[in-house]
């Protein structure tokens, strides 16, 4: 296709397009602009035609730009520009505008050119930033709330728990059976509430006490976790097997907690046979997918979402120890690391909990 400059119809179409249009040749000279481009960049058409396209690009990108242009001409195909990067245009006055650019190769009578179709995304971006700010603030508020609530709840709760227990220590058997039962309910309730409050505190700390992510050897973390679970493993006759585990970008303390929650869950929800837990990792682009599989009781997949919610338990109280926070904390840790977590399971056939973490060396992507 070639643009016939004498054709009024094409000219008025290009002029009317609501995106800024800039046609650039191999030498990175601007060949054509439309009205929207003049408006977006604040230059008059005469100032733009034949000028180097770098005029419209913030100077910090000038160094790399010729290489990008050369790459495009080497492999000319229609595509969005700078996938995953934030792009900016530079206006005549020097201010920057966040933009989105679509590139298409066009054969003209002056040779192969790049047609850049540019949209100003200032408004979209500021709306998104506003939402993100709001979300961040509301998350921070929630965390603060959970932290303060659980911290301040602990003090009076300790009183209730200690004194009902003291009552039991000193007076159990001296009153009637009914009184003993009441005391038992009261101290059991207080103990459970202490557990919930402690778990809530642990949950809120995932966000509030997280450390920056750094390369961590997952294999070493798993070894430490397994070591810490020695007693549980001995008592249950269980074993933890690990494939080769990679270096990932993580908060080491939280990765430890994540693996510990998953491995101890796998042991806790064991079937009749001795628990066998297998931890493996496979590469998925820039990430690693870890899987923790077991031969335990498994779950019905209709509960696959629910098990990751706070304080959701699938079993009656007393059957399995715990408040149902383990997987909720695991999910929160994975999400704080930018990954996802899921469970695949079938009752009686074990479960596989898998999650993704960023590789510490993204360049060895397979």
């Amino acid at each position: 296709m070639s643009i016939d400059r004498s054709d009024d119809r094409y000219r008025s179409i290009v002029e009317a397009i609501p995106s800024a249009i800039v046609l650039v040749d191999r030498r990175r000279r601007i060949r054509l602009v439309n009205r929207k481009a003049e408006e977006l960049f604040g230059y008059a058409r005469d100032e733009l035609l034949d000028a180097p396209v770098e005029l419209l690009i913030p100077s910090r990108f000038h160094g790399e730009h010729p290489r990008h242009v050369a790459q495009f001409f080497a492999q000319p195909e229609t595509r969005p520009m700078g996938a995953g990067r934030d792009l900016f245009g530079r206006r005549k006055g020097g201010e920057e505008v966040p933009i989105e650019i679509g590139l298409s190769p066009i054969d003209t009578d002056e040779g192969l050119c790049t047609l850049a179709s540019i949209i100003d995304i200032t408004e979209r971006k500021s709306a998104r930033e506003r939402y993100e700010d709001e979300l961040r603030r509301s998350n921070a508020d929630l965390e603060q709330f959970a932290y303060v609530a659980s911290h301040d709840l602990q003090e009076p709760l300790r009183m209730v728990a200690n004194y009902t227990e003291l009552l039991a220590q000193r007076y159990a058997g001296q009153l009637d059976d009914r009184a003993d039962k009441y005391i038992h309910y009261a101290s059991d309730g207080a103990r459970r509430m202490q557990r919930l409050v402690a778990d809530l505190l642990a949950y809120s700390r995932v966000g509030s006490q997280g450390k920056p992510l750094a390369p961590v050897a997952a294999g070493e973390v798993l070894a430490a976790v397994t070591h810490g679970l020695q007693r549980l493993l001995r008592e249950s006759g269980g074993a933890v097997e690990a494939g080769p585990l990679p270096l990932v970008l993580a908060d080491e303390v939280q990765l430890h907690q994540l693996l510990q929650n998953l491995v101890s869950n796998a042991i806790k929800f064991r079937s009749e046979s001795a628990p066998l837990v297998r931890v493996e990792a496979t590469r998925e682009g820039p990430r690693w997918r870890f899987s923790v599989s077991d031969n335990g009781i498994g779950i019905d997949m209709q509960y696959a979402e629910r098990v990751f919610q706070m304080f959701q338990r699938l079993h009656e109280q007393g059957r399995y120890d715990g408040s149902g926070i383990g997987l909720a904390i695991a999910k929160r840790i994975v999400e704080r690391h930018g990954g996802t977590i899921r469970i695949d399971s079938e009752p009686g056939r074990g479960s596989v909990v898998s999650f993704t973490l960023s590789a510490a060396r993204p360049e060895d992507a397979s």
Binding site: E155, R158, M159, A161, N162, E165, L166, A198
Partner: protein, 141 residues
């Protein structure tokens, strides 16, 4: 020994104070236990300000951090700056397990830092351990 060992318990929560006292009283040692319910009262006792001119200087101080009026941290700082008081061992006994409270307390000169545990038996065990360590294991000035 000429007089019973004396303990100053600085604690605003009467429930916790009673538990500590009960537990200490069940131990083998004869202890003289005084309670200060806030930081100001603790300092007045230690500095023998009226009406505490006649009180005995304690052999051990159990100090809560979160106190009304003068906080436990201020009491600790003052004790450790005051000649005649700074050699008295101070055991911080608090519900906080925040890292900054622990670090700050030791910086101010706390002799040890103990978090009030969850559960009555654990609490009693800890109080007995404090008593055993400071009154039978170590030598006091």
């Amino acid at each position: 020994m000429s007089r019973p060992l004396s303990v100053l318990l600085v604690e605003d929560n009467p429930g916790d104070a009673d538990l500590v006292i009960e537990t200490l009283e069940q131990g083998k040692l004869k202890l003289d236990i005084a309670v200060a319910v806030d930081g100001a009262q603790a300092l007045a006792r230690l500095l023998r300000q009226p009406p505490f001119e006649a009180v005995v200087s304690p052999d051990l101080i159990l100090l809560d951090l979160n106190l009304p009026k003068v906080t436990g941290r201020e009491v600790l700082a003052r004790i450790k700056q005051e000649p005649g008081l700074r050699e008295i061992p101070v055991v911080v006994l608090t519900s906080s397990d925040a890292e900054h409270d622990i670090v700050r307390s030791y910086q101010l000169g706390a002799n040890c830092y103990v978090t009030k545990p969850v559960g009555l038996v654990a609490f009693q065990t800890i109080v007995q351990a404090i008593e055993g360590f400071w009154f039978t294991v170590v030598k006091l000035p």
